[in-house]
Amino acid sequence: MGKQHYDALVIGAGHNGLTNAAFLAKSGLKVLVVEKNPYIGGASVSRELYENWTYSNCSYVCSLFRPEIYRELNLAKHGLQVTPFGGSVTFTRDGNFLGSYPDPEVMYREVARFSKRDANALERYHADTAKWCRLIRPFLMRTPPDPTSFRPKDWRELAFLLKKFHGLGEEQIYEFMRFFTLSVAEFLGDYFESDLVKAHFSGSGIIGTGLGPFSPGTAYVLLHHYMGDVDGNIGTWGIARGGMGAIAKALAGSLREFGGEILTGDGVERILVKDGRVTGVALESGAEISADNVVSNVDAKRTFLKLMDEKDLPAQVIDKARNFKIRGSSGKLNIALDGLPTFTGLSKDNPLYKGDFHFSDSLERIERAYDDWKAGMWSRDPYLDMLIPTLTDPTMAPPGKHMMSVFVQYCPAKLADGDWTDDKVRAFGDTVIDQMAEYSPDLKDLILHAEVRTPREIEAEVGLTEGNIFQGELTLDQLLFNRPFPGYAQYRGPVKGMYMCGSSTHPGGGVMAAPGANAAREMLADLKRDNTVPEDFGDD
């Protein structure tokens, strides 16, 4: 392989790297994806860690994945199937719960159990959130304009942005300016009075984010989790049959069909640059591969500070990469269960059992959980997003057995009292299991095996710096033409032939595949090849 030459080499077989490579290969380029792990997928991965149980080690639910890409890359043919699952639950400490039901009238009744006003505000809440989604969604499959450039393309894109913005109407433009600096607590406060209702909806505003529900900017994070869809149902989440790894597997199938290759189990040590142009990569094994173009699926910080020689970079880029906000704030438990656990108060035949469970019944509890993180501890009373995917996907465990996926907010990358140790990781896992056990008397007895992942494990395995799930915080200073940093938002790196295609780039994290596709479109334009990347379907 050492002597081989590629038109494009993609570093990392995360779903964005695979997407990028597939579109490049589709245009006829000779493409290689290099992945350090012996398996593909990055944070969109599934592995068997306990015999006959499929673990979606990182991401666990799917909504953001762009349907245009799904279709264009024939992912259905390559085995991908996404099934929506119904609802979510927040348990209260007094034995009750609030559920989100898909049916609007059942949802009305449910919220009315706690507040009639809030039940009546649901329509307005959904209409307003839909307005923001409509504003943002058209930008997902587009390259952000450079507001300082005078190129006609940037002007066109800026005009498109302004037109969308203007399409909001006068009132909404004011509201919009507020929206991006609003906390999720304040945003929800515009609609709801019940603390439980607010806590229930606020989770999407803090997931993966080093911010609390009262921190400015978290309203956008909520939207980031709301703007996806399953078959056009905006805000709906689904389960990929076979786990999130099925997405990577389907993308790899598509890539190979277009003639692309994947090399696993050998990481890139260095991106090679000569005379201001990339020439290829050096691998950890010592081999070198030459390529005209090198695309990094790895986060921006790692790409510039670890994979590149600082001497090859403009000083300001090094500085920007150093200051890139990529704080680890999440952990994950994946638990193999001998049976379906009981949760006090919620009957097992309730359709909400298929949904995700939370145990934080007030905004204050979530904010306190954040306080612990700021102090360099994992939350003693964390915010959990727990889901039992086997209730929707029969393939992930033997019949009657179950898989439990527990996303944990907050868990710091660096602890105040020193480095993470295996004991501390275990203690972190116990904190999480103990919280759930308060609501589930039989949970502990059903545990066959648990995988506990703190930012340390996530960084070590997926390469996400500090374990930040989005490859960089989703705050306004790091969005759109500022993602990953100003001047580099159009997927091109500071060195000729070098590109970025990971979640560090617009439109950001989540299993969305848009960064990978957008990067491919820009590259194909530079290479003067026909575009293979589809346009978005559009909402109107």
């Binding site: 719960f97 449910e110 006003r117 009546n120 329509e123 209409a127 409509r134 108060g345 919620l346 309730n350």
Partner: protein, 408 residues
């Protein structure tokens, strides 16, 4: 105020309410007993009949004898307290002071941008006490609007059952039921009767554009009312009707429907997809002589600067209903709007439609066409049809206005 209990379905285990998907009005069992089509649809929390036995027969009951439709799912709010009149007057575009006790008024209410949130009726029950009825839920908007007013707002949706009794024999039926003096009630009048110890409210209102009444009673007395009504009307062609028949009747009457002919402003997601009262041909409901009401500034500006849309009633040549049709300026000309409701009117023998025209386009009122698509045994036909803009409702019989109505 604790509102929650009344919204629950299974009292023994309120958290299992999801098992009871839809509510049943107190008239549900009565309709089930009559229904042989088993066709229902959902209206907010409730299920209501599309058709009981035969849509045509039900429609003709409304136009020829007496049709009874269950409007219990209507959102109903009782508004009282010292500031009730001032509150109502700020809320709606009409001058509420002109709706005297014992009278009902049709109105719209708008947001600050002067766009219609919903239309509905105000029942002035007694001095300073109102019942507001609308198709959509209004509690959120009412509570927001009530800031600073000393008012009490209580939801009555699930306390008051309501039947629309519509058609030429409706008055006689109610008289036979023992509602003495009902024939003296004027359109938009409102009175109370004793019904076996329960309070029965009767208004001369409806959604059919015909002679008709609405009966309002507490849930517990609802079945007894149904029985008495059907007994009294059995020789006067009384018949339970479903929503399909009502839909045809309301189009003939030229009445707009929320979610069909306009998008309620607080549910509207797309800019300029909402409508102002002027744009719905309801300018007559806007009373600028009131010094302040919600939306006034925006509506005044619209009045001066012009509207974006115009709702028109179209009388279309031929007999193919213009469902979802584009409206064109001249045959094959530029698109100037779209039909939102269409029907062949059996009673007016006309092909009628409600359409919204885009006022940024050039429109020649005398050369309006619609492009109708219809299918016969899998073959699609496309037909150009000339349309005439008409001012009056397609169906507007004298008996709707006459007091006392003919005793038939």
């Amino acid at each position: 105020m604790n509102h929650t209990e009344q919204d629950l379905v299974t009292e023994d285990s309120p958290r299992d309410h999801y098992k009871a998907l839809v509510k049943r009005s107190p008239f549900y069992e009565k309709q089930v007993a009559l229904s042989n089509t088993n066709k229902w649809h959902r209206w907010k929390a409730y299920t209501v009949a599309d058709e009981i036995e035969c849509m045509e027969q039900e429609y003709f009951a409304v136009r020829n004898s007496c049709g009874v439709f269950d409007v219990t799912p209507m959102s109903k709010y009782r508004i009282g307290g010292p500031d009730a009149e001032a509150f109502m007057n700020r809320l709606v575009t009409r001058d509420v002071r002109k709706i005297k006790p014992g009278r009902v008024g049709y109105t719209v209410w708008c947001n600050d941008q002067g766009k219609v949130i919903d239309d509905g009726t105000i029942f002035h029950l007694e001095q300073g006490v109102y019942l507001l009825c609308a198709q959509e839920r209004q509690y959120d908007w009412l509570m927001l609007s009530a800031l600073g007013f000393d008012v009490e707002i209580s939801e009555e949706t699930n306390n008051i059952a309501c039947l629309a009794v519509q058609g030429p024999t409706s008055c006689a039926t109610l008289k036979a039921m023992g509602l003495a003096g009902i024939e003296g009630m004027k359109p938009f009048g409102l009175t109370h009767f004793d019904f076996g110890g329960a309070k029965l409210m009767v208004s001369r209102t409806g959604f059919t554009g015909d002679l008709g009444y609405e009966l309002w009673i507490d849930f517990d007395s609802a079945e007894a009312l149904w029985d008495a009504l059907f007994e009294a009307g059995k020789d006067r062609g009384i018949r339970a009707i479903g929503g399909d028949a009502l839909e045809l009747a309301r189009i003939e009457a030229g009445f707009i429907l929320g979610g069909v002919d306009f998008v309620p402003a607080n549910q509207c997601v797309r800019l300029h997809h909402d409508r102002s009262p002027f744009e719905l041909d309801l300018g007559w409901l806007v009373d600028f002589s009131k010094e302040s009401f919600t939306g006034r500034t925006a509506l005044l500006r619209e009045k001066q600067e012009g509207s974006r849309y115009r709702l028109v009633k179209l009388n279309i040549e031929g007999n193919k209903p213009a469902h979802n049709a584009y409206v064109m300026n001249g045959k094959g000309g530029k698109t100037i709007g779209a039909v939102s409701s269409a029907a062949w009117s059996p009673v007016a023998k006309a092909n009628v439609a409600l359409a919204s025209l885009d006022l940024t386009k050039r429109i020649n009122d005398n050369n309006i066409w619609v492009e109708i698509f219809y299918q016969k045994e899998l073959k699609w036909h496309r037909k150009w049809a000339r349309a005439e803009i008409v001012k009056d409702p397609f169906w507007n019989p004298e008996r709707k206005r006459v007091t006392p109505p003919a005793d038939v």
